[in-house]
């Protein structure tokens, strides 16, 4: 197959910083790959590792969690919880042979360009890793 692999990527974005930042990329017409699908939550602290694993299992090739920069959380400390859950989840995924399929990035409401850069980088990164097809691989006996 000649055409390149187009990853499916689920993005969690917090309402106050990251979602706004992604909107800003829109209003500033900054291009980035179409592969990302944004799921809005009020705070990155709402993102449950369960949701991340579910996304991977159901066909996502990568998951990107975004939130306010440390110290900037609209809800005081939500992003710290996210950071800790992410660190632990990352270690778990490594043990499960799924290293580097999940990223956590801070994107503020003013960082439309930063968002675009991250989105492009992540899509490229996952494209390099190749398709995941977790369900198929783990259930195909």
């Amino acid at each position: 197959m000649g055409d390149q692999f187009e990853p499916r990527i689920v993005v969690f974005a917090c309402n106050w910083c990251s979602y706004a930042g992604i909107d800003l990329a829109g209003t500033s017409r900054i291009r980035y790959p179409h592969n990302v699908r944004i799921v809005k939550v009020m705070c990155s602290g709402r993102v449950h590792p369960e949701m991340v694993l579910k996304a991977l299992r159901e066909g996502a090739d990568g998951v990107l969690i975004t939130g306010c920069h440390p110290g900037d959380c609209h809800y005081i400390s939500g992003n710290y919880k996210t950071m800790r859950r992410y660190l632990l989840l990352k270690k778990l995924l490594k043990e499960l042979g799924l290293s580097d399929r999940v990223w956590l990035e801070w994107v503020s409401a003013s960082e439309g360009d930063r968002w675009a850069k991250i989105a492009s980088a992540f899509v490229e990164h996952i494209r390099k890793l190749g398709p995941l097809r977790l369900k198929e691989v783990m259930e195909g006996e």
């Binding site: 449950h48 859950r85 632990l88 499960l96 190749g130 783990m138 006996e141």
Partner: protein, 332 residues
Amino acid sequence: MSKKVKVALYWCASCGGCEEAIVDLAEELLRLSEVIDIVFWPVATDFKKSDVEAMPDGSIDISIINGGIRLTEHEEMVKLLRRKSKLVVAFGSCSHLGGVPGLANLFSTDEVLKYVYFESPTVVNSEGVIPREEVVVDDGRKLELPKLLRYVRSLDQVVDVDYYIPGCAPTPDVIKKSLETLLSGVLPPKGSVLGASSRSLCDECELNKTKPEKILLKDIKRVHQVRLDLSKCYLSQGVICLGPVTRGGCGTLCIKGGMPCTGCFGPLDKVVDYGARALSYIASIVDYDDEAQAEKFVEEYIVDPVGWFYRYSLPRSLVRGRYEGLRGGAHG
């Protein structure tokens, strides 16, 4: 008197503890034997597979199966029993969730055999014997062994399961309750977990009320590293207790015995992935906002997250085991 309920018992990849648990019913067994008729129980009675095959489909009322699905043989047997039975009940953590043997899903079959037959410190295997699926013995006959599957699976990942009886192993009390329900005739909705609580263990744990208002962890202690105050919530003492995420019903046996809950009763109905839930609440109460410190904490205290959070449920988790990419992973 009405005719007895036909019951089959079978074990797959399990330690035998579940069988023990049934025997532990003691006098109960006698009372049971008045209402049930055991048609198949390899551990206790001499029936052969052929006997089961001979039975008409659906002629067994209840098949109670423990152990995870590890071998082609298990697959074959449970499919057979499913065909012959009205109800199939997964008995114990292994058949319910994959169980401790399910942790082998982190390793390929070769790795497993290599370890078990050569590397394990207690193994002496000078002739380098290793099970093969086929051997030709002296008189030229070909003997076959069942195939070791790449991934251990829970029972319901192989056949349709009607009910679950949780625990490693299920406590006599849970077994009793479950059987009563099954024999009562009024059956709960399909897929229910029998004999246990609908809430997490904290609900029935006496130590719950001793919890401080907020629990925040600066470090994690292993039970052998601390003198646990048995009258205080273990989690609040920095010991990982999975009570909050684990279905109650065991009567907090381990906790009463001075050990934290390790989760054998598995997740609650609303939970999608047991390990993720466990991981999330532990990470959430780690008391470091600085990334470097948090990383150090994870590095130092949570050496083997899978072993910790999926001790009984790796095969039943969203990921199920170690992913080995499109090639290699896809076949057993």
